[in-house]
Amino acid sequence: MRVRNIHEENLQFQIAPMIDVIFILILFFMCSAGAVKTENHLVSSLPGTAESDSPVEIPDEQVIAITNAGKVLLNDREFDSSSAHRMPELRATLGRFLESSKANKTEAMVTIAPEAYANYQRVIDVMNACAAARIKNVSFRMEAEE
């Protein structure tokens, strides 16, 4: 049997396979970076007490109701189907509401009033539509004590 003698071989660090491996790793992480789930935030502010000496400006408020079945109602008109998460109709309406508030020099405010067993995802859908329409003042209506 023929035995290889390592002393006879020219042992060199092979750079080409190393670069191949690095390229594959980069490709893997580049592809997986696009599919990564990240936690983002939707901001809201709760009604609270504030001491103020200056007169308080009354905001232009709209109340959005969410039923247990997932229907979204603004001024008793239903917007988008219950399965539409992106809510294009509500986004467009809220965008117009913000523009009219700016024209009237008042602050646009949206209060979300969900029914007791409305799905939380639906509440987030409405908040997402508010964020898309760039409405910053989003608040919640508290449940009445039983």
Partner: protein, 143 residues
Amino acid sequence: MRVRKHHAGEELEFQIAPMVDVLLVVLVFFIMITSASVLQGDPDIVLPVASDATKPEKSKAEAVLNLHWVTAGKSGFVTMDKVRFDKLDALGKKLAAMSAGKKNFRVVIRADRTLPAIFVQRVLGACADAGVSDTVFTALNHD
């Protein structure tokens, strides 16, 4: 001015070492952004999806509340820093103590997408009673 000339005898070599350096930096960058977005918090909670949610601000003092709902008992509980709060009064007291003297204190709400809105409202009520009005809701960028 002295200008270098390429002579026919000069050997122009491809420099492999800087290229490997750059590749390693790019690799580290992608590893970092992939591992930085590993979800934190309670893994039992399936967060809702909101494509237009903004990136979280990390500068503020905050309390992260994980909201759980028990369908059988029609009741919920909240965990904060691995401490379970079955009664929202106790949570309110804890939040009031945490937010005392902190102007920019906020509450981060992580709730399951199937949770009923009533429990979120109750928790928000507890936050309002504790004097915390700055609340943010956590959602995923996509499914």
